[in-house]
Structure formats: structure tokens, C-alpha cells
Symmetry: C3
């Protein structure tokens, strides 16, 4: 594996190997510096502190160094340089690059001009494979990935993370339950693709009607700006909110995930329940990205 | 000691230990890397280059690494995340955090949600304990901390550093002399607290009347924006200015401190006099912060 | 050599030594960490990602660490501090400083107040010695530096890099050919200085008339903002554009350089020709700056 651009490029074997390695990496490399002398370049054309920080932490934990390759506002792209030229230059400064870019396909394009591995740190509405691997890894900490019932809740129209996760779970024969406000449901093209790959996708009107059957709840943020009427936003968002009372009769191993930051989608009193896995999920960014970095650099 | 939030939390013994360690740390760890493999997270919600840089330099000198945890403008807080959630996430990426925040009490709050040590790098008008330790350390390089006469000059109303320093000096039985423009004197509550703790606080109308008795002069910046009338600012600021002629008859060991940056408060021709300790004070940020970092992380 | 401020300060022997070292440094220090424990401070008062990144990469490749000393917008200079004070403070945090500043002479001034080496990373329309060393190093990879014919193309009025390169080449007896739009030719004072130093400077009306004789073409960006009339800019820039057809009858070892970023000055189809040396030139920033860093710090 040279570049990691999209979760669609990875087969089940490759995903399983990365997840397994993420589970081993912290102990395996304790006190060692497998990437000592290596430089990870962080090329973020839009801000994404969590992605940047956990890649940076992962690289430092492996004994390597990081350098910021600059964002668009201070860079040569502001002077009209193409992404291809930028990549050709900065790939001379580092041993691998994490690229975050607002445009779909940017990471793939970059990989064609780079001598060194490109790790896609999110390209607009496109792919963000490390997030999907983190989601899978977090689920796998609580249960087998095979044959789970997962509920996707919130904005499933624009929520890139839910699309990639659902796609990846087709390798594991998941049943996918969707609960979304009107107009923010899963796009038909994505539903069709999931079903072609053998997953069932079941639409629900409320969380209550399905929550007892779920192994995983994946909550995403509803963005206020999708709702022209603020009152409407308030109504809708409150009915997609995870509260302790909603969780009174759920499976014992239920795992609640959220890509964070959350605003009001999960009541803070849920944080101390055993189902809450979202802070663990955020922290899992480090071992999962350690696994990715060792995969492409060693 | 786990977190370092406020100088008020430290007793005289703890302060003395940190100051002693600051004096030893450079030699003690020369060629060693006591914090190798550790990561210091810098979480600055407002800019403060000096504080950030000297913590960073201190961490690198100890063999550790630093990572920028991002400021508010690029962070998840801009999306409405609470400080508690931010801390819960980023404390998974580092081994200690220096927090700079515009709101009083932020560092204390952060410490309640963090698994790793929080070092307060300044919380608004609140505390900035490393600055106070640097001030004490710089005085201690020239004289014993006990029973000194210190003159606090400039804006004593809003000048956070002078409040904390005066407080800390009550452990050492200081006599505190204040010289401030009308309306910018030491707040009564702070004066009362200092006196309750056994220090005498004496107000003066001019620097000249007391300068011969002082062991330490602590100068702070007068901020133009506190004066509605620019001409008034000019008049006032020039009468609080430290010049060589003012220093013609002072104690031999007099130490002039300033938290920097200075603008016009100290004439540049003072820089080459033996009393000028403010550049040394700035550089003392490194050993003092090395002492703090080893205290909480090793 | 303590500071590196201007290419004018270096004699031919010193330049040759740095270029030689740049050629050796990657192999010589492979697996070693000659600057381990050292900190390079990056003090950039205006953005320059390429310069910053390649100094940072160079420092990391040598086993050292880097720290950002902050730009003007977040720094104490915004509060009215002088450059002298800033340098006196930050030179306590690092072992050498790369300074980028918008004002001519800033690096020289800084060197007078600094206890540690200052490397000029560009001071406005003034000097940028590491860029010139990179240019020389790149030429030297293809041919001897002595007695070359070099064509300087584009904006030679404001193009700092061409002035410094032409100056440095007078050590090597170069013949300098200039091809510039009206009003953007080489300033008379610079031409006179080059001729006094023994170089011939020959002005040409078009690239075509001289291209067959050139060993090196150095292309610079024409800036749209120099042309009040956009149509005029388009006309002029297209006649200073390097295309494959222009290169049909050139010397075999011709090297085309460009400080990058390029916009339209070089047709992308030139990239795959053997003459294109500009991406290599960008990458040469790392070994050349490694040579500079070891020169001043070890």
C-alpha cells in the first residue's frame, strides 16, 4: 500500500490488517521509534484540527517529526500555482503527506504527482478514509464487525462520514438503519450502491422504533444552516437527540459513536453511560493513524 | 503536583522547590532527554507568542516534542463545542497541555476534564502562574526573596502580573510600594488581601520619592486605550518612564523587571545598566518552564 | 561564519565551500544527527512557505528541532515592540534564527542584537542568500559555474532573486543576458555594479535571438499588478513564455531555472524535457539549507 486515498480502494483483508495493527501498535512500538528520522508533512488547505492533531500525535508517538506544509492562504497556491506543482515541490521536503483539501478528488490527483505516500485527510464531500477506519476500530473494540445492526442518525444527505462507514460495513454484512429528517436522508445513489453490495438499508421515522435492535448508533451533527427556519431547526434537532431516557431499553453492548464535535445531538448526561464511545473514538485517532503511518512509511 | 493552575495554589515550599529546580535544570539535564517521547500540547485560544515559545523551547530542551492544539478560530469550539469536550478529546493526543484562554477560570475548568496535567498559560484577567515564577526567579538571581522592597509601577488596576507577583511575595514578607496613575491603582480587594497576608502596601505619588529604597522595580505597560485623551496618555506615561537620570542614586543590587513587550516605559539607554534585568527575565522563561514541565511530567 | 545575511558578504571561496558541502551533506550525515538537541527558530514577519518549509525540513534531517517564533500579526511587535527587543528575547529560545522580514536591512539589524546566528530568509527587496545558493547549486549540478552564458528573463526590475544570482555569478565570470519587458529591465545601478565586477551584461529584445547560446535560462514571474492594462499583461507575458518550440535548438546541457511558484511563464509541457531543472531546484532547498545550518551551528 503506497497511498491511502479512499476506503473504496481497500478490500476487507486490507481493512482488517490495518485495524489489527492499530490494536497492536501502541504496545508493539512502546519505547521504540520506528519512524525516527522520518518527516510527515501536513498540507491542510482547510482547517481540521482533530485530523491534523491526531496524525501529528501518531507521528510523534512513532518517533518521527511533523512539519506544517502551510494552508492555502499563506501558500504559493494563492499566487496561482497548481496543486500538481505544489505537490511536486513539497514532496521533496517530507517522507509522506497528509492532504486535506476542499475539493473532491484532490488527494487522488496529488498522488499522481507525488514521489512519496499521500494520505487523504479529507477531500471536501469526498473521502476521509482514516475517519472510517477509526469508526470501524471503535466498533470492533466492543463487538465483532460482522452482521451488526447500525443506526445512522442525523444529516445523512451531506454527512460524508456516514456514507464511507456504511460502504465499509458492506464488507461485514451490516444491516443499515437510517433515521434522518425529511430532505436529509441518504442519497438514492448511495443507498443503491450499498444494496448492490449486499447490505440491507432500512429507513425509519424515529429512533425509538428501532433503538432496541441496534448494536451501534452513529450520530452526526445537524447543521443549522440546512434549515431556512430556525424554529424548524430546533424542532427537528430535538427529535434526533440522544438522551438517557431513550437508552432505557437497549442492547448491553450498544456503542454510541459521533465524529465530534457535538453540539446538542447527545445530551451530556449520556457521557457517563457505558454506551458512550465517542470520546474513546476521538482518541482512537492516534492508534489508527499510527497503523496507517507505519503501513505507508516502513 | 498534577496541574499548575494558580500561584495561589502553591505554598512557599512548593514555590521554593520550583525556583530551586529552575536553577538546576539546565545543568542537570544537559545532554539528557528526561522528557523524550513525551508530547506537550499547546492549546492557545488567544495568541501569546512569548508564553508559547518559551514553553516550546523548554520542552524541546528536555528532549520532548510539542504540538499545536489549535486556536479557537480554526477549532471545533468555533462549531459550538464546549471547552470540556475539547479537553476530553485533545488530552488523548498529548502528555500535558499548556492552556491559554481569554476567560477567567478556564484552566481550572479544563483541569477537571483532563486526564493529563494542565499548565495554565494565562486565563484572561485571572492567573498566569509561570509568569509569576519567572518574576520570582529573576529577583532571586540578584538577591534573597525575603523582606524586599518592591516598587510596582504603571497600570496596577488591570496588570495581572503585578497582582500575582505581589501575592506570591507575601510568602517572603515583602514591602510593596505602588506608583500608579490616578484610576489605575491597585484594586482595594487586592490591597486588602495582601495586607491580610502580612505585607505592607504603601502608595506613592512619584517614583522619585521612593526609588532610593527599592530592591526591585517592576514596570508594566500603560495601555493607550485606558486613556480617552491621547494628550493625557502622553503626559502620564512620560512621568512613569524609567530613565538613566532617575537611577542616579539607587541601591547597587536594584533589579528592574518588566514582563515585556515594552514600548516607552523604559528608556533604551537603561538597557546597558546593570539594573536592567528584563531581557534576562524573558530568557528565564525557559529554565522556569523546564522546571514546571519536569514537575508535572516526570 | 556566524550570520548569513547577504550573498555580498561571501567570497568565492566561501560560496564554493557551501555548495560543496551541500553536495555532501545528505550522505555525510545519513543516519547521524549532527544538530540533535539544537533548536532552529523560524521568525517570519511575512509568509514564505517554501523558504520556511525547506529550512524546517533541513533542520529535521539534521536531527534538530524547529520552533515557530511567530509572525507579526500575533506577536509583540503588534504591541509596538522594536525588532531589536524581539530579537533579544527570542534569541534566548533557540540556537539559530531564520528571519524573514518585509523591510530591507532587517536581517543585518537583527544580527547586531542577537547572541545566536541569524540566517536571512529574505528581507523585502533586499537579500535572500539561501535562494541564490540554491540557484548556484542547481546550475552546478549540470555544468561548471565558470564562464556560463545565463539568460535572465521576466521582471528584472523588481526580481530580487535575479539581482543576487547575477551578482554571485560575477565570481565565476558569467556573461549575463537580459530579456525583460519595457520598464521592467535590470536597474542601471545593478547593471553598473555587475560590469564593474567584470561581467558583461547584454540586453536582448527577444528570447529567440539568444536562446541558442545560453547555458542557463532563469525565468521569473511577471506580476499582473505591474501592468495597469490587463490586455497588455496578457500580450507581454505570452511573449516571455517558455514553450517546447522555443527549445528546439538549444545547447544539450541547457538548464531552465525558476524560483517558483510559476503561473504561466513556463508551459507545463516543458516539465518533462531534460532542460527543466526547476523542481529539482526547489528540492535543492533542503541540502543547501542543511549546509548553511551546519555551517553556523556546528
Amino acid at each position: 500500500m503506497n497511498h491511502i486515498i479512499s476506503i473504496h480502494d481497500l478490500d476487507r483483508g486490507q481493512i482488517d490488517r490495518l485495524l489489527f495493527r492499530a490494536g497492536e501498535v501502541t504496545n508493539e512500538y512502546a519505547g521504540k521509534e520506528p519512524l525516527k528520522g522520518k518527516i510527515l508533512g501536513l498540507l491542510f488547505f482547510e482547517p481540521s484540527t482533530r485530523t491534523r492533531m491526531s496524525f501529528e500525535s501518531a507521528m510523534l508517538r512513532l518517533g518521527g517529526s511533523c512539519m506544517n506544509l502551510g494552508g492555502v492562504e499563506v501558500s504559493s497556491m494563492a499566487k496561482g500555482e497548481t496543486l500538481a506543482d505544489t505537490i511536486r515541490v513539497v514532496s521533496g521536503y517530507a517522507d509522506a503527506i497528509v492532504l486535506r483539501h476542499p475539493k473532491v478528488g484532490a488527494a487522488r490527483l496529488a498522488s499522481e504527482f507525488s514521489d512519496i505516500p499521500i494520505l487523504n485527510g479529507g477531500d471536501g464531500a469526498g473521502q476521509h478514509p482514516s475517519q472510517t477506519l477509526i469508526d470501524l476500530y471503535t466498533i470492533r473494540q466492543s463487538m465483532s464487525l460482522d452482521n451488526i445492526n447500525i443506526g445512522l442518525i442525523g444529516d445523512l444527505m451531506y454527512g460524508r462520514t456516514t456514507h464511507s462507514l456504511a460502504y465499509a460495513l458492506t464488507h461485514y454484512n451490516a444491516r443499515i438503519h437510517t433515521i434522518a429528517p425529511k430532505g436529509l436522508g441518504l442519497p438514492d445513489s448511495i443507498r443503491d450502491n450499498l444494496e448492490e453490495r449486499g447490505s440491507s438499508v432500512i429507513e425509519h421515522d424515529s429512533i425509538e422504533e428501532i433503538i432496541g435492535e441496534l448494536d451501534v448508533i452513529y450520530v452526526t451533527r445537524l447543521q443549522r444552516e440546512r434549515f431556512p427556519d430556525p424554529a424548524k431547526f430546533f424542532d427537528v434537532s430535538s427529535s434526533y437527540r440522544i438522551t438517557p431516557s431513550l437508552l432505557s431499553d437497549v442492547k448491553e453492548h450498544l456503542a454510541i459513536l459521533h465524529p465530534l464535535p457535538r453540539v446538542d445531538e447527545i445530551d451530556p448526561s449520556v457521557d457517563c453511560l457505558p454506551y458512550a464511545r465517542y470520546f474513546e473514538q476521538a482518541r482512537n485517532g492516534v492508534p489508527v493513524r499510527m497503523a496507517m503511518l507505519t503501513e505507508v512509511m516502513s
